[in-house]
Symmetry: C2
């Protein structure tokens, strides 16, 4: 039976923009596991309360529910060890942790102010008030104010991206010649931005963009087929 | 025959403060290879010109010279594959590259302004003019100006360290339960600071400091036995 995965959607049901959900969708693809996504909106907390989570991704596999992208990735690796490895063994799994925290805190923290106002315009009407209130509280300013400073956030992002750029100038994937979960963690952040904002985070001549194009093409163009701007 | 390694020294011959040299000294320790260091000063470029390098570390192993920390680490892994692995196999080696670039650019970039004025006071007299001129040109300001802003640089560093902190709150080493080259890359930056500056970059209650203490203790306290402030 196919794995069921709750996946954050916008007003258009096919616009899937959670960076954490993208990590897991690509992990499921690498493992070659069948899955069906269930579109979920930010305010549908009741829908997943029975799985003891307030956020997506949540997967249900053979009646077992697992929440949180890191927990899910580990579950998939441990439950399906005979399929292609997400982490490439040890110490690859432990080494993925810093990629995870760097992406959550530093990378997504730098992308957030650039795209957050665009998220609002793509949200389902039910989610907009909730989104504006929680995000403006978290960011300490209005979404419109952030938008007026987009150029300076884009420029600050280029600094944050420099180590990634230098790394990908020398090798096709973060994990070497083939992509692993480490790549999906970081790629998820770009897929988040691509889904909801026309702001091009990296130019087409950037080694980061070459890597991004390779991952957009992976698994028969799975990530590229999702609605996106660039 | 023991490996020979050129190692950056201050006015005191035992004050060894190059973060890149620390990476390699710990790599040699993990491999269990005998080595002797040769103290080297910044202006002694003629000493290592025959090895086609202007910087340390440079190692000489059985008459072969290898320069640049990343190149040396790869040389050691490939030349001594039967000894403990620095990268933990593939994809560990490829995954180390981002740790390397993040440390070079982001982490050391954030630590530099905090410690650079203290480096000057520890340098051999011959190196001081060279150091001040090149560093002030690179940083675009005087060393004394940087020092007056130390508190704001220390505070900015805490942001940069957050993903590292979250990672090390969950596991003893970046590479898992035992240290690998990934750990040495990042630790080298802390050892650089410890050698030449009393500015404590992380508090003793920080998960980063617990990890740092473990690495100071490793290999019979090898890193701890070097002159340092904290």
């Amino acid at each position: 039976m196919a794995i069921k995965m709750y996946d954050l959607a916008g007003a258009e049901v096919n616009r899937r923009f959670s960076p954490y959900c993208w990590r897991i969708k690509l992990a499921l693809k690498l493992k070659g596991l069948d899955f069906d996504t269930i579109p979920w909106r930010l305010t549908e907390k009741a829908e997943i309360a029975r799985y003891r989570s307030e956020r997506v991704p949540v997967i249900v596999d053979n009646g077992r529910a697992i929440a949180d992208s890191w927990t899910i990735a580990n579950y998939l690796e441990d439950t399906y060890p005979d399929r292609p490895l997400l982490f490439g063994g040890e110490p690859g799994r432990a080494l993925a942790r810093f990629y995870n925290q760097w992406t959550d805190v530093t990378l997504q923290g730098a992308i957030g102010p650039i795209v957050v106002a665009d998220i609002l315009t793509h949200l389902d009407a039910r989610d907009r008030d909730y989104f504006r209130t929680t995000r403006e509280a978290r960011l300490g300013t209005t979404l419109e104010t952030l938008e007026t400073h987009r150029d300076s956030y884009l420029s600050a992002l280029q600094q944050v991206l420099e180590p990634l750029r230098q790394t990908l100038a020398g090798q096709p994937y973060l994990a070497g010649n083939t992509p692993h979960y480490h790549d999906f963690i970081v790629f998820g952040a770009f897929q988040w931005a691509r889904s909801i904002s026309g702001a091009r985070l990296v130019q087409a001549t950037d080694p980061i963009d070459f890597w991004r194009q390779r991952l957009l093409d992976a698994f028969d163009g799975f990530a590229r087929s999702a609605p996106g701007y660039w």
